[in-house]
C-alpha cells in the first residue's frame, strides 16, 4: 500500500488581514485562499486596499494583524524564501535609465542568482514570450508604455516564479497593448502559473480569471469563482415585470411565493427580487401567468461581472 502524498498548501492563504497606516485602516480583516494554478482577479475601486494586500504578499510591507501565507510560508517567517517564489509587478514602476533591454533583464537575472550560463537562454525565452525579442538592444527608456509593461512581465518571469503578483498591469495602456498583455497572461495561465491580478478593467478580468475577489473600503465583499459569485448574487436577482391591469394584487400574491425576497411596486413596473436557486426566472413567469396577469415585459437583469461589481460596491474608500 503506497502512502498518499499530503496535499500541497494553497499558493496564497490570507486570514483576517488588517493593514493600518497610523489611524487610517486600509484593509479590514480580509480572508481568502488562492489554490495553485488559479488566476485570481482582485477588483475594487481606488483606495480599496488591493495594492496594500499585494505589497504584503510581495514582502514589502508588514501586516498590522492577521496571517498571510505564500505556498505555506508565512510572510514574516521567511520573506527571503517567498521572494524566490514570487514575481511582483507594481502598479507603477520605473525602469533603469541607460540600460538596454538585454542589460535590464540580465540585471534581474543576476539579482535572482540564476546561473550566468543560463541567462542568455532565459532572456531569450522571456523576450520571445512577451514578443520583445526584436527590441533586445534598445534602451529601456526608449520603449513605448505598452512595451515597458511587457518588459515588466518578462522580468517577473525570469526566475520562473510560482506566483505572479500583478498590480494593475494593463493600466494606462492603449487597446492594442491591453490585448497583448491579456494574451500573455492567458498564456501564463495555460502554463500553470498562479496569478493574482488587480485591475479596473472588469470585462477583461472575467475572460481569464478563474476566481474573483471584490474589495471595497478595505473589506472583501465577496470572493469565489465567477459562477459562485453569479449564483450568490443571483440569490437576489432583480426581475423587472410589466403587466396589464392592477399590479397591487399581483404584488401581494407574489410576496407569498417561496423564493421571492421583495416586490417593489413602481409606476410602470414591478421590480421583483428573487432567490434564483429556489425560484428561477422562468418559474416566476409561470407564477405570474398562473395568476392570470397579462405580461407585457419580463426582464431578468443580466448578471455580469460589472453588474456584480456595481451591486456589491458603493464607491466608498477606506
Amino acid at each position: 500500500m503506497t502512502e498518499k502524498a499530503p496535499n500541497p498548501p494553497p499558493m496564497v492563504d490570507i486570514r483576517n488581514l488588517w493593514v493600518k497606516y497610523g489611524n487610517f485602516v486600509a484593509v479590514r480583516g480580509i480572508s481568502f485562499v488562492i489554490p495553485r494554478g488559479e488566476v485570481f482577479g482582485f477588483i475594487g475601486p481606488n483606495g480599496a486596499g488591493k495594492s496594500s494586500t499585494i505589497r504584503i504578499l510581495a514582502t514589502l510591507q508588514q501586516p498590522s494583524a492577521g496571517y498571510v501565507r505564500v505556498d505555506g510560508v508565512e510572510v514574516r517567517q521567511d520573506p527571503m524564501k517567498i521572494r524566490r517564489k514570487i514575481g511582483y509587478m507594481p502598479d507603477s514602476f520605473g525602469l533603469y535609465e541607460g540600460l538596454t533591454v538585454r542589460e535590464y533583464l540580465h540585471f534581474f537575472a543576476a539579482a535572482y542568482d540564476t546561473g550566468e550560463d543560463r541567462r542568455d537562454r532565459l532572456v531569450d525565452d522571456v523576450l520571445t514570450l512577451t514578443d520583445l525579442k526584436h527590441k533586445i538592444d534598445t534602451q529601456v527608456d526608449g520603449l513605448s508604455r505598452g512595451m515597458k509593461q511587457r518588459l515588466g512581465l518578462a522580468r517577473v518571469l525570469l526566475h520562473d516564479p510560482e506566483l505572479l503578483l500583478l498590480d494593475e498591469p494593463a493600466s494606462g495602456l492603449d487597446p492594442r497593448a491591453r490585448i497583448e498583455v491579456r494574451e500573455i497572461l492567458k498564456e501564463l495561465s495555460r502554463m500553470g502559473k498562479t496569478i493574482l491580478i488587480s485591475s479596473h478593467i472588469l470585462h477583461e478580468l472575467s475572460q481569464f480569471c478563474t476566481r474573483i475577489g471584490i474589495l471595497e473600503a478595505g473589506r472583501l465583499m465577496t470572493e469565489g469563482s465567477l459562477e459562485e459569485i453569479y449564483q450568490r448574487l443571483g440569490l437576489m436577482q432583480l426581475v423587472h415585470v410589466q403587466v396589464l391591469g392592477t399590479t397591487d394584487e399581483l404584488a401581494a400574491h407574489l410576496r407569498q411565493i417561496a423564493g421571492v425576497e421583495a416586490v417593489d411596486v413602481q409606476s410602470d413596473r414591478l421590480s421583483i427580487r428573487v432567490r434564483a436557486e429556489s425560484l428561477p426566472p422562468e418559474d416566476l413567469l409561470d407564477h405570474i401567468r398562473a395568476f392570470g396577469a397579462r405580461v407585457r415585459m419580463f426582464q431578468p437583469e443580466a448578471m455580469e461581472l460589472e453588474t456584480a461589481f456595481m451591486k456589491l460596491t458603493e464607491g466608498t474608500t477606506a
Binding site: 514574516r76 520573506p79 527571503m80 539579482a111 542568482d113
Partner: protein, 563 residues
Amino acid sequence: MKRRFKMMRLPILTKDLLERASRKRTYIIRFSYGLFLFVFACTLFYGNIGVSAEAGQALGRGAQHFALLMSIQLAVLYTLVPILAAGAIAAEKQQDTLALLLVTTLTPWQIVLQKFAARTASILSFVCLSFPLLAITYTFGGVTPAELVLGMFGLIASCLQLGALAILCSAYFRTTAQALAVTYVVFLILRFISSNAFLQPPGVAGIIFATFTALICLAVAAGVLVDRAFVQSRNYLLEFFRGLDRFFEQLNVLTGGVVLVHDRGFLPGRAPIQWRETRKKSLGTFRYLFRVLVVLEFPILFCIQLMRFSTNASNLDDGGLVALLDMLWIASVALVALHAASLISEERSHQTLGVLLSTPLPSRRILAEKLSGVRRLTFVLMVPFATIFLFEKWWYSRSSWDYVVLSALTVVIYLTVIRWTALAIGLRLPNQLSAIIGAISVIGLWVGGLALAGPLMSYLNIDLPPLENTIRAMSPVDMILAVQHSATYAVTRNGALSPWETSPAATVLHFVFYATLGFGLQWWCRRSADRYLGRIPEPQAPERWELEAAALETAPRLSVNVD
C-alpha cells in the same frame, strides 16, 4: 467678497501661500531662526559688558556687530532661497501639474511672477527679522544711516536676485535637484563677478546689478516656461561624458585606435547592483572617474610645478596649494555626500526600489553593492589628496611622517563618516532632493558648527576653556587646519608642532571618535536596512503574530468576509 475676488486674481500666489501657511514646519523654522538670531544678537550686544556702567565701552562697536549680523543673514539667504524657490516650477513638472496651469488663461509672466512672489515672500520674512537688530547696531555707533539703509536694501536685492535665478532654473530644468544645483553654481559665479566679498552686502552698484539680473532672470523664465514645460529628465553629467566619449572616439581615428582604459564586464555577473553602480553611473564608471581625476589633479600638478620652478625667495609659501586643498576638500565632501545620499532616494524617486526589494537580494548586500560606486569615487579622490600631502612632505623636508599619516587619516576617516552619514539620511528620507538637502545640511551644520563655535565663543568672551577646548578638539576643520599648518609652519614659523606632537591623547581621541562614528553608522544602516528600505525584515525572534497565527490555525476558516 471684494477681498476674495482680489485673491482669486492671484490664484497661484494664494495657493502657494495657503499651502505654506498650513504647514507646521513653516512656523517651526521661522520661530527657530528668529530665536537663534535674537539670542545671538543679544549675546553679541550685551554678552561682553552687560548693561552696567561699563556699557560705554561698547560704543563704536556697531560696525562689527552690523557686519556680523549681515554675514549671518546673507549666509542664511544663500542657503535657503534656492531650496525654497528651485522647486517652484520644477516640482509642478515632476507632478505633471504644470500643463494644467498652462491651459488656463494665466500668461507665462503671471505664472512666473506669482511663483516668484510666493517663494520670496516667505524668505523676505526672514530678512525682515533682522531689521530691528540692524537698527540696534546703529545705536552702538560706527554705522551710518546710509550704510544701514544700504545694508537692508542689499539683503532684499540679494534675496530677489537669488530667488529669480532659482525660478529661472526651475522653469528651465526638469527636476528640482537639477534646478537647485545649477542655481547654486550660477549664483556663485554671479557673486564673484559682482563682488569679491562673499558674505558682505552689495553696494549701490551691486544692488542695481542684482535687481537688473533678477528682472532678466524672470523675463527669461517667462520666455522658456512653455518650451521647457514638457522637457524629459536628463542626466547632464552622463550626457557630457558620453559627448566626450564620442569626441575621443573621433580623435582615436587619428591616433590609430589607442584605448587606455578598457571597460570590462559587458553584462552583470554575480553582483548586479555593483555592476550598475560602477558601469552605468557617471560617478562610478572607471573611465568617467578617470576624467574627474584628471580635472582635479591637473591644477594641483600645475601649482606644484609653479612652486618648484619659482625663483622667488618666498617660494616656500604654498598658499596656492593650500587653496587647492581647501577646494578639494569642499568638492570631495560635496561629491561623496551627494552621491551617497542619492543612492537609495534616487531609486525611490524613480520608482525602481519596490521591484528591487521584491528580489531575494538581502538588504545588507543591496546597501553594500550600492556603495561600491561611492567607494570607487572615494579612492579616486584620494589620489589628488595624496599628491598634495606627499609633495608637501617632500617640499618642507619634514623628518617625521606625522603630517602624512595624520593627513591620510583625516581623508580616510572623514570621507567614510560622510559616506555613511549621507547614506543613512538617504535611507530615511522619501525623495532625492530632501535626501541631498538633508545630508548637506547635517554635514554642514556639524562641520561648520564645530568650526565656528570656538571662534564665536572667543569673540563673545564666553570664558569656558574646557568646553571650548573640547569643541576645538572634536572639530574636523580644526584638525585639518592644524595638520596643514604643522607642515607649512614647520619651516616658515620655526617649527609648529603637529597635533600628534602637541596633544597625542586628544588626537587619538579625535580619530577614535570619528572612526567609531563611522562604524556605528555603518552598523545602524545595515541593521535598519530592511526597515528603512521598506520590506519585511528577516525574523529575529518569535513575535506576536506567531501567537495570533497559531490561534487562527485552530479557528474555523471564513472564505468570505462580509461585515
